[in-house]
């Protein structure tokens, strides 16, 4: 039955010099279903997407792809052709032009033209129609810059739909979304499904497959492990298929023994650096103990990231409140001063804020800590190398050597480089902003283990996370933020997903 499957990937093999990225992969995708695709980083998901979008054109791989019953032959580098065929991808990193409106973005490259000039009324009318059809709650005339990440994603989806996409591929759509936004996205996907659009859903957050997908395919090391209806799967089974071994616990049990209070934040207030009228922090208080992991939960926009960058001296103006380390009141004007006080910050966006991608692992690890090895006139290259190698080994960064550019590493290894960099200064207080975002299951586990080790050695850790399970699995206490305020701190024994969500949404 060729009509049952809209996409039939048959025995596709894709080789690169030295590696086989896809090894005899076969996947059948039913018309109108939401098909989950999961696997660790390097399992072959991105390669497969690149074949479907035409980045790796027809002829550069073995095997066949049947689309709508005939063989899909995408020409050289013609992403346009894939879109015209009805295959659209919403990438993890959004690709909108921030200074254009929603409508202009949706119709970018295919503006309705009449007698040589753009018919703006039609453009906005069509945009409104698409948005209304799929219940996307965005204004066509709004500037994309002013939208939140969740809305931007809706615009991306609208853009794909405006091309009459039959298959919509979503590559980790929820990695930057809050719980509420994820719920909204799930609703949108259901609407798409009812309109007959087929979705391929890629994610690292395994729970999501159970919320939304009809069936799931697991890839491992470039091979298809299994395709099963979601109702036959469990979380444990899925993890098992992905890593090829039983993973009894997702969060390693540490032997943490929180000690005395080392860091206190009281009623911290701060302004938006770009808009002094807008206060972003309206009074945040918490304390942190030596050897403890304090989770910070909160919705997108609740001020979590702003809180930690303010503490690190790199956000807006502090307008009130105090911070004390070991009882001493401190003021922090920039990152350098923060580091001097014993603070480290693993930032939220590892590519945008954590790494100099074109530079080597070595240079990235030592960048924030050159003072340790350098006098005014020279850098002690031996000492730099020794210290960086020590960190790289400690974190088990997988790379041929330290001279490799960080842009060539997988997400998990990149994150390890960022963490290595921030451990090199031997912080007393380590702040980690979403440390496992976009990182595969195996690397996540290693990062958790490392956090436990550090805490056992007496480092105080603040961990922001968008994943409630992670917060619950790793923290000793959880501080919940709501609209720029700390809305209470829970001991882990009293915390539950419901309780945290209630506090994060201001119900409790």
């Amino acid at each position: 039955m060729s009509d049952e499957f809209i996409l039939d990937i048959r025995n596709v093999t894709k080789r690169f010099p030295g590696v086989t990225a896809l090894d005899d992969v076969s996947i059948q995708i039913r018309r109108g279903e939401i098909h989950g695709l999961c696997g660790e980083n390097g399992a072959g998901k991105s390669t497969l997407m690149k074949i479907l979008s035409g980045v790796y054109p027809y002829g550069t791989y073995d095997g066949a792809i049947l689309y709508e019953g005939r063989e899909l032959k995408l020409e050289n580098r013609s992403i346009r052709q894939a879109i015209e065929e009805g295959i659209a991808i919403v990438y993890q990193e959004l690709t909108l032009v921030p200074d254009l409106t929603v409508g202009e973005n949706v119709f970018l490259g295919k503006e309705p033209v009449e007698r040589g000039s753009i018919n703006w009324n039609r453009l906005y009318a069509d945009t409104r129609e698409i948005l209304a059809n799929y219940q996307l709650d965005v204004q066509p005339q709004a500037l994309v810059r002013h939208l939140g990440v969740g809305k931007m994603q809706m615009v991306e989806i609208a853009k794909a739909l405006s091309e009459n996409a039959k298959i919509l591929i979503l590559d980790e759509p929820t990695s930057a979304l809050s719980e509420a936004e994820i719920t909204k996205l799930m609703e949108i996907l259901q609407t798409l499904k009812s309109h007959g659009v087929t979705c391929i859903y890629i994610s690292h957050k395994l729970e999501e497959f159970f919320r939304i997908t009809d069936s799931v395919t697991v890839l491992r090391d470039g091979k298809t492990v299994t395709t099963q209806p979601t109702r036959d799967l469990t979380l444990e089974k899925l993890v098992h298929y992905m890593v090829g071994r039983e993973m009894t616990e997702r969060f390693p049990k540490g032997n943490r023994k929180p000690g005395e209070v080392i860091f206190e934040v009281e009623n911290l207030q701060a302004q938006d650096p770009n808009d002094a009228r807008h206060t972003v922090l309206n009074g945040v208080s918490f304390d942190l103990r030596r050897g403890e992991i304090l989770g910070i939960a909160g919705l997108m926009g609740s001020g979590r990231t702003e809180l930690v960058t303010t503490i690190f001296g790199e956000y807006g103006k502090v307008t009130g409140g105090t911070m004390r380390i070991e009882g001493r009141e401190i003021s922090v004007g920039n990152a350098r001063e923060a580091m001097r006080q014993g603070l480290s910050l693993v930032p939220e966006d590892r590519k945008g804020q954590g790494l100099v991608l074109i530079q080597s692992i070595l240079k990235n690890i030592s960048l924030a800590n050159l003072d340790q090895f350098a006098s005014l006139l020279s850098i002690d290259a031996d000492a730099e190398l020794k210290a960086s190698m020590g960190q790289a080994k400690n974190l088990a960064i997988k790379a041929p050597n330290l001279q490799v550019a960080t842009e060539t590493l997988s997400g998990g290894n990149q994150q390890k480089v960022v963490i290595a960099k921030w451990l090199l200064s031997h912080p007393k207080i380590l702040i980690m902003d979403d440390p496992t975002r976009g990182v595969d299951v195996g690397a996540k586990y290693e990062i958790y283990k490392l956090m436990n080790e550090l805490a056992e050695q007496g480092v105080a850790i603040v961990m922001i996370s968008s994943e409630l399970e992670e917060v619950l699995g790793m923290s000793d206490r959880v501080m919940v933020m709501h609209e720029g305020r700390s809305n209470g701190t829970l001991n882990i024994a009293d915390a539950s997903q419901e309780r945290i969500m209630q506090m994060a949404t201001g119900i409790a």
């Binding site: 990152a335 923060a338 945008g352 804020q353 240079k363």
Partner: protein
């Protein structure tokens, strides 16, 4: 230590390793080969007219001609690496050259008569100070008041054009004290040249063995000794050949020595100091640099101060080279400097670029000027050919990148 036992003997064949080395330095090799190709073309064309392009005298002239641009280009690498631009360097060098001339012609002989050596030294100091001061001024506005470098230096270019007119009053000012003339017109005795060459070669091999020792210490895979020896041998031969050629004429030109010393210092600064590391990090990812505690404003300020100092140096050499200061001094040099930096592989996106590349870029620019002069081509063709070569070079680079 596990690391020391893991030291692997290179398992790859000599040819494969050589290929790897070539690929790793492809951009540098390409640009050097491009220069060789340009030289070959000029040699052939010149020989058709019965002239010799690579004569000792012309090689000596060629390197002397590239010096002014090279000082500017070496500073420009740092400026562009941090994602900035400096349009004022040509006029700044020009202004420095007329100031240096003005002090010699109208001030020193009144204050300190009959002291040509001291007058020359003071002129140099004044020139370097003026350049540095301009850098301090522009750098503060760019780094601390946060006006884009393009605009600040465009304004600077206008202002300096006016200042040159003010100082010269539209006239030509002589700058030909004997001591001062030596800076751009002097030659080192042959024996000094050979001693220098020997020292450089000794340094090359010492450095090679030191780096091999370090790699062994940290358990890194060693490249084959044969290849290291071949590479350093080739470099040594180039040094010997170059010294032989210039000694055939009058010896190593003093400004060329100055250029090589500057290049050595700047390369060291780029690779072995925090300042250099910070510059590349800022260009590679400003946000990551900021969160790493790097003082971005101060680094960028210092880069413009350095650029100002090098413009001052370029201006002093320029005044000495032409022997006077004129209203046209430094006209268009900023374009040569930017082109040289880009030809040498500096990325306009920031984060990438080398001092050595800028040097080769300057050499290409000078070779084009010199070659066209030798062939008696009308002056109009110089900028046309330079423009074509610049765009062609980047085009080829883009093409190779895409097809890698």
């Amino acid at each position: 230590m596990a690391a020391s036992t893991e030291t692997k003997q290179p398992s790859t064949s000599l040819g494969a390793e050589l290929g790897q080395r070539v690929r790793a330095n492809l951009q540098t090799i390409t640009i050097v080969l491009a220069w060789v190709a340009i030289v070959a073309i000029f040699s052939i064309l010149a020989s058709l007219e019965g002239k010799v392009f690579l004569s000792p005298q012309n090689v000596s002239n060629l390197f002397r001609q590239m010096t002014v641009t090279s000082f500017l280009a070496m500073g420009m690498v740092f400026v562009i690496v941090t994602g900035n631009i400096d349009l004022s360097v040509g006029k700044l060098a020009g202004f420095v050259s007329v100031v240096a001339a003005y002090f010699q012609a109208t001030i020193w002989y009144k204050l300190i008569p009959d002291q040509p050596m001291i007058a020359a030294i003071l002129s140099v100091i004044v020139g370097l100070l003026v350049g540095t001061l301009a850098g301090v001024l522009q750098g503060s506005i760019i780094a601390y008041l946060r006006v884009p470098a393009f605009i600040v230096t465009l304004g600077g270019m206008f202002i300096l054009t006016g200042l040159i007119l003010l100082v010269t009053q539209g006239k030509t000012i002589p700058a030909n004290q004997p001591g001062f003339s030596y800076i751009a017109q002097g030659y080192l005795p042959a024996i000094v040249g050979w001693i220098l060459a020997a020292l450089i070669i000794l340094f090359l091999f010492w450095n090679m063995f030191r780096s091999r020792q370090r790699k062994r210490k940290y358990g890194f895979e060693l490249s084959s000794l044969t290849i290291d020896l071949i590479v350093n041998g080739v470099f040594s031969l180039v040094v010997i050949g170059f010294m032989y050629l210039v000694n055939q004429y009058q010896g190593l030109p003093f400004p060329v020595l100055l250029m090589f010393i500057t290049a050595g210092i700047m390369t060291y600064v780029a690779n072995n100091t925090r300042f250099g590391r910070y510059a590349y990090a800022i260009g590679g990812n400003r946000e990551a640099a900021r969160l790493s505690g790097i003082n971005i404003r101060r680094t960028i300020f210092l880069i413009f101060v350095l650029m100002g100092f090098l413009s001052g140096l370029a201006g002093v050499v320029l005044a000495s080279y032409v022997g006077y200061g004129t209203i046209a001094a430094g006209q268009g040099y900023e374009l040569d400097a930017i082109a040289a930096a880009i030809l040498g592989g500096t990325s306009t996106l920031g984060g990438v670029g080398t001092v050595f590349g800028a040097l080769i870029g300057s050499l290409i620019m000078a070779t084009l000027s010199n070659g066209l002069q030798i062939l008696d081509t009308p002056p109009a063709w110089q900028p046309i050919v330079k423009g074509i070569v610049l765009v062609l070079a980047v085009l080829i680079d883009v093409y190779f990148r895409k097809n890698r």
